[in-house]
Symmetry: C2
Subunit: 112 residues, 2 copies
DNA sequence: TTGCCATACCTCGCGACACAAGGCATTATA
DNA sequence: TATAATGCCTTGTGTCGCGAGGTATGGCAA
């Protein structure tokens, strides 16, 4: 129930999180803002999206977490694991293939 | 409950259908195959996806239908209305903005 | 000191939607 | 005479994005 091409265009939040965390360790609240800023407000994922995805990714071994206190603030930093990097590659590849396919239909390219 | 940015990456089946029907009148079964072929099997939407969307689009006035019999086969052809063309433009614009935003995050472009 | 906002974490419940599976009817094919 | 292909459709399920809400701390202004 999770291996096929189901929900073919889903998992974008997951993709974005993995990609951002690849650059540097980040925490949930930070990710919410980073996605908003880097997308110039085109994408605004709330915490209700981010946190569950983070937990799922950690449970699946794609992310590892470490609690750190900064300025008396307790933060949960997430880092990409090797499995997470693999998953990121897979998701990015899928996303690329999918958008290419959609784009070619939108453009109206002649199909073989 | 339908005006905000909710389910931001959804509605791709709708987008593809509107785009294909813009070229020429098509019927459900034909759309299923056309999407599969034009995407080179990257996208395979079943009839359980196509028909409900067609009905919803017609209900909303984006498509008009006409029943025609070909070779003893009864087909329901769908054509794009003016409202449908408008909706197509909107969806295509949204899709473009969304994929651009995602792409820029994936690439890692410097953000202002 | 008393609010209020920002930071930072989290969960619950709703709704939408894509999908598989199935059902019905007809025509062509083996 | 089956079986596949054509052509239409609906129902049920699971997933997932999301808003709303809840907790707690720190800083700042009134």
């Amino acid at each position: 129930m999770a291996e096929n091409n189901s929900n073919f265009m889903s998992g974008v939040p997951e993709l974005l999180i993995l990609r951002l965390v690849r650059e540097k360790e980040m925490y949930g609240y930070e990710l919410v803002q980073a996605i908003r800023e880097r997308s110039h407000d085109a994408i605004a994922l709330g915490e209700g999206v981010i946190y569950p995805v983070l937990h799922a990714l950690e449970r699946d071994g794609a992310l590892s977490s470490s609690r750190k206190t900064v300025n008396g603030r307790s933060r949960v930093y997430y880092a990409l694991t090797a499995a997470g990097a693999q998953r990121l590659d897979d998701l990015a590849g899928n996303w690329s293939r999918l958008t290419d396919a959609i784009q070619s239909i939108l453009i109206g390219v002649q199909h073989a």
